[in-house]
Each structure stands twice: as C-alpha cells, then as structure tokens.
Amino acid sequence: MTAPTSVTAPAEVSAQLYAKLIARFPESVAAETRPNYSGVIIKKENLVEVAAAIRDEFGYDLLTAVTAVDYLAENKMEVVYHAYKTTGGTGLVFRVQAERVDPIEVPSLVEIWAGADFQEREAYDLFGIKFTSHPDLRRILMWEGFEGYPLRKDWKEAFFEEEAKPFKSRWPEGKHTYAEFKNPFRDNLNFPENFDPNSYQPDNEDDLYASLENHSLKNESGLKTDQIVVNMGPHHPSTHGVLRVAVTLEGETILGLKPVMGYLHRNHDKIGERSTFLQIMPYTDRLDYFNSMSNNLGYAIAVEKLMKIPVAERAEYIRVIMAELTRIQNHLIFVGTLTNDLGAMYTPSLYAFEERELILDIFEAVSGARMMCNYLRFGGVVRDIPEDALSKIKDLVYERLPAKTAEMERLLNDNEVLMGRLKGVHVLDGETAVKYSVTGPVLRAAGVPYDIRRADPYSVYDRFDFDVAVRYNGDMMDNYLIRFDEIWQSLRILEQALQQMPEGPVNSQKLQYQVRVPAGEAYGRIESPKGELGFYIVSNGKPTPYRYHVRPASFVNITALEEMCRGSKIQDFVALLAMLDIVMGELDR
C-alpha cells in the first residue's frame, strides 16, 4: 500500500513544473483544465520550439511515449507526449490538439527526439495525423493502400458488432452464429463501395525502397560498386518472429535498413477499446508473450492509478516476485536465442529452456497457465500462492537458479568464439540511445543507469536493496553481460521479497467483474525485462476505456536499429537484432 503522502508529493512537483513551463512560454502553453488530466497543452505552431526547451532547459531528455487520442465529440485530435528525465523522477506530459478535419497536421518532433519516429508513424497509420517535416512518413503497421485509419472512433472493423462488450447477441438468446454471416463480404473484410478487385493495382512498395535510397551512405572509396537490397523476413529464422527488414548492402556492409512491421499487428488497441477494463487483462498477456506477468503488472498499475485504489500488501510482494521471476526467465531465453543467432544452435538455449520450464511450472501452479497467466487483478492478485508453489519458488531462488545462472556463465562468458563475435561490436552509445528513446538493458549497457524500478519506483520496489545493473562500453559483450547482472539483481530482490512478504489478504477490492473507473487519463509504466512498458489509458467513466494504448519497449527500441546497424556487417546484423530482444507480439501489438 503506498502511503498517501508519497502520492501527493510528485503531483506538487509536477504542478510547479507545469507552472514554470507556462511562465516560460505564456503565449503558446496552456494549462490542462480537464479533471483527472495532467500536463499542458501546447499550441501546435510552437510545438517544436517548446519541445526543444523541454529537452534542453528543463532536462527532460527521454521522450518515451507518443500517442494520439481521437476526441470525436469535441471534434479534436490530440497527440500526447510523455517525457522523462534519465536521472529519474516523474514525467512531463504535454499535448497538442488539432481540428479533426483532414488533413490533420501536427509538427513532427523527430528532429528533437529521434525516438518519436516510429511512434509518429504509428499515429499517422492508425489515426491519419500527418506529421509535417517527418522524414519518412509511411504507414507502419498496416500496408499502404489499406482503407481508412482504424483507430479513429468513427471507423468500424468488418466484424463490428457493437461499440462495447458484452455483446447483446450472446445472452439470453445466444444462438451460436459465425461473425462471417453478418458481414456482406462473408469474411473479416470490408471493401469500399463499387470496388472492383479485378482492376486493382497493388502497391509495390516503391516508398519503402525510396526511403532506403535516401538514407544510404555515399560510396567514398571511389570504386564502382553496386548496392543491393536484401529483404530479410518476414519468415526468417533469426528475426525473432515475423519481422521484415529491408537492408541495403554494399558488399557485406550495411548502408541502411528499414524494418517493416505489422505482420503480427493484432489490433490490440482497437480490441481494448471495445473490451471492459477487466477483459483487457488477458489480452495484455499476449503482448510480450514471454513476460505475461510483467504485462499484467503494467496494466494493473495504470488502471489502479486511474481508480486511485490501494493494492493489498501481500499482493504487492507477490507481484514483485512474479515480475522478477519473469525477468530471470526472459534473460535466460535471451542468452539462448542470442547464441542461437550466433550459430551455437541448441545447447545454451536448451539449457535456458530447462530453467524456464521450472519457472513456468510455478506460474502454472499459481495462476493456472504456463504462459498466459492473467494473474493480476485491480487491487491485488487472483489468488494466494499455494503452499507447494511457494516452497518451489524458494527452492528455485535460493538454490537452483543461482547455481544454473553460474553454470550458464561458466558455459559462455569466457568462450573465445562468443567473445570474438561480441566484443568490440558497437551497439549504441548512451547519448544516441537516449535520443532514440531506447530503454531497458540496451540503454543501461550504454552507460545510462536508467531503471524505472529505481528512477520512478512503482509497486514496492523502493523497499528492496538492489543495484541498477549498468555497463559502460555499449558493445555487444556488455549488452550480453548486463543480462546476467540483471538476473543476479533479480535474485537479490526475490530473496528480500520472499523474506519480507507479509501475511494477509491478496486483494484490497471485492471480486467484481465490472470495475468502476472514473473519467480521466493515466500513464502507468514499469521496467519490463525489455525496457519501459507503458499503458496509456483514457477513461470517460464508461465500463470500457475510451482510449487504450500500449507503449511497448520493443517497438520503440527498434527505432534505433538502423542507427545501430549502419556500417556494420550483415553477419552482425542478426546478433544486433538479438541484442534488442524484440518480441513481435509486443512490437506489432
């Protein structure tokens, strides 16, 4: 349970901060007046100027989340930015509003924060907001030529049944029917009126290849060479899922690359806006499917922030234990897949999967499912940890996992082949990583000790004694070793959490399927194993969220991929991609 004083203190700090910002730009910055909203509204003509001041004068150097909200009733489109300091503390929320008349135009912030690149493209893709002066504004999740902007409130999917769940056709007269029969095209399809498929010319991705051309380096050697474009994926064994990367090569050197994504775009946001707050919980499991417990945690924190409810004390500890176990298995799998990508097929990943199976056994005993846990509820967790599962956790934390992590280190850390591949291959330096909004182990391996568990503590992380793992070279070896550092720190947290865990109820709320969430907005974020996982929720007091947005770590981290890979060899590309530890479920949502 967080004490009420600690809630008010940051609010005061941010109130002062916003007052300061308004005093600095009295003309162009206005205070936010809607109840339960925070931040300031910036006039869109002055956005770039104010944003530059926010970064340079106010020190908010890390722009984490950029997203849009469609306020249909007010006829406004709003873009919301969340900026943080890498030295820690609460965030700064600023937003711009535009008239909801096409073309909706908002200035782009890519020049100030390069990390805004893909997130702005996403807002363009799903909301149709044109970011003027964006260097490469193309659709990102859907394909070019797709009809409409799906996240606009007046856009309806082909299988649209009702605005919000539960659907009336299910009860009390719920005869089973297929959604296909209700749609004129007899499938999950929607074509414009009088559309003739026979005469349709599909897009041949000229824009993608043109953007590659613009970004490639000049050939300085004077030799006459040809550049080739190689498409890796979407089916490629080492792209960690269905990611496609178009790479321009000169010889074996990467000149430029563009990730093409959306091959696993499962419309998480749109489905979330049709589902009740509780119904979203199992969907969050499927975001980053390695770490469903952390996803649950991030979402629960965001909604609890909005509902302003306390969390049961014991549940807080259970949440921490689950989140840290998740981190350990994620990092073990990272080592496994990395070595897999480097050519060490099977052995390390088989060892890693053994430990993961044991951790998943715990998840299954606690929550009921191995991967899709759906274990957290607003105000606590579903059920207490069963006795035998608790003793199993203790066995693992005190005995098995330290021994096996040490064994994994013995297996790999001094291995000359691995060192030869990893050492000295540059990933990112700290400054660039911050510029590209990279979070998580990649940022910390570049020497920036930014860990949300310490920088902006959530749950009960402020009660534990642990170090923020940080390494300074920013090469692949550091990126690899920092995963082990984090496993050791997680084990430290787990030991303390197991000792301190109090008895008591595991949920502060009554069991109810229709939670009341007051109107307002909230941004909840956690340090997921892959970086910052944020949930931005706008509620209008109804059972379903008005806007539900996930700020996934993988999606924003991959913005830096081109910067990371430019100039390196194509062989290293696979390993560099493994460094980001992307998961497509989270990346494409």
């Binding site: 299910r170 719920g174 119904q279 053994e354 056994d361 499912a369 059920r383």
Partner: protein
C-alpha cells in the same frame, strides 16, 4: 591461453552429459523407478532435476497443478435417480465477462408461467475462440462453469462445443481440483445452513404476525 574458455564450456556440457547416467544409476541403485513413475516425474520437475529432463508424453505425463486451466466445462450433479442437475442457471455472467465473447447461452421461458427456466436451453462455447483466461470460472456465482485439465482435444474439424459436450459430472471436477471442490462445498454448506437458520428465524418472527 586461447581455447581455455572453450574447454571450460566443454566441461560444462560434459558434466551434464554424464549427469544423466549418474542420476539413472543412483535411482537404479536405490531400487526406484526414474521413469514412468510419479516420483520420478516429480523429481524431474524439481530443483534437483539433472540429467534427462524429458517427460515422455504420451507414455508419462506432467503432473498438472490444481489450478491448471485449459478449456471450460459445465458441472452437473449426479442425482440419486440417475438424473442430472445442471448447476448453471443461465444467469449470463460468463458471456458478459468473456473477453473474446465465445460463450453463447439461450435461456428459455416456461410456457406456462412465463418465468425464465434456470437451466440453459442451449449453451455453446466456441473452443477455437476461447483464450483460456478462466474469467468465466472465476466470476461464476454458482460454481457451474470450471476450467478443465484435459488438453488432448486436437481434432480434424473446428471445435464448437454444445451443452451435451460441455457437461461433466461434479465427481470429475472433484477429481481434478480436490482442494477447490472441498472449499466450495464447505462454503455452500455454510451458506445453506445460514439460510436455513435465517428461514427458521423469520418463520418464528412471522408466525405471530401471520396468525391473526
């Protein structure tokens, strides 16, 4: 020395290779079965697991914890006369709470009284939509829908389960979740007793008033 790290790696793999035989031998010397026995499977899923980790499904199976959830089923009580009492009252909470909306219930009215019949007339679960989240079982106020342990459901066609296919006896539920079943039974009994006590009380209180 170059190559020392590789030798170290080989040492680890070499040790793990021999672990299998050592562990097998240890079990054999103790006269116990490492394979095809509950004890052996428990050992292979514990902190002491070393050597062969494989649980050879389908010959042997992992021991599923009680809370394991796969797909939902409906519980019915077997009555003494061979009839069955479906616990579901078609109250409609599960279709309301279901995230992918894969539950369909038809509730009928009694033609004579016009009041709804508690038992569902039709009940469908589209098993190919179900996301195994367990919310239906969690929020069912009558403990009528529960999550199954049976996972061997692969088929050559799509799976839409109707009422008959969903129904399973409460003895089966008891066998897969003994602790939950005992807890729910105790709760139900306590509730019934409280209700009976209350009924007696109100009856006592009401009798004098009703007398004139």
């Amino acid at each position: 020395m170059f190559g020392k790290g590789i030798l170290k790696s080989l040492q680890v793999t070499w040790k793990r290779f021999w672990d299998t035989y050592i562990d097998d031998l240890a079990w054999w010397l103790r006269g116990k079965k490492r394979y095809h026995s509950v004890e052996g499977i428990t050992h292979r899923s514990s902190k002491n697991a070393k050597g062969i980790f494989t649980v050879q499904y389908p010959e042997e199976r992992l021991i599923l914890p009680e809370e394991t959830r796969y797909l939902p089923f409906l519980v019915y009580n077997e009555l003494a006369d061979g009839k069955r009492e479906i616990l579901c009252t078609s109250c409609g909470i599960c279709p309301k709470v279901c995230p992918p909306q894969c539950i369909w219930i038809v509730r009928s009215n009694d033609p004579q009284t016009g009041k709804p019949i508690p038992e569902p007339t039709e009940f469908y679960i589209d098993m190919d939509l179900c996301m195994n989240c367990g919310l239906c079982a969690e929020y069912c106020p009558f403990d009528a829908i529960k999550m199954d342990h049976d996972f061997e459901l692969a088929s050559y066609t799509r799976n839409i389960y109707e009422l008959e296919k969903l129904l399973k006896p409460s003895s089966y539920y008891q066998s897969i979740r003994p602790q939950n079943f005992a807890r729910e039974e105790a709760e139900r009994k306590a509730k019934e007793e409280a209700k009976a006590a209350k009924a007696v009380k109100t009856a006592v209180a009401e009798t004098p008033a009703a007398a004139p």
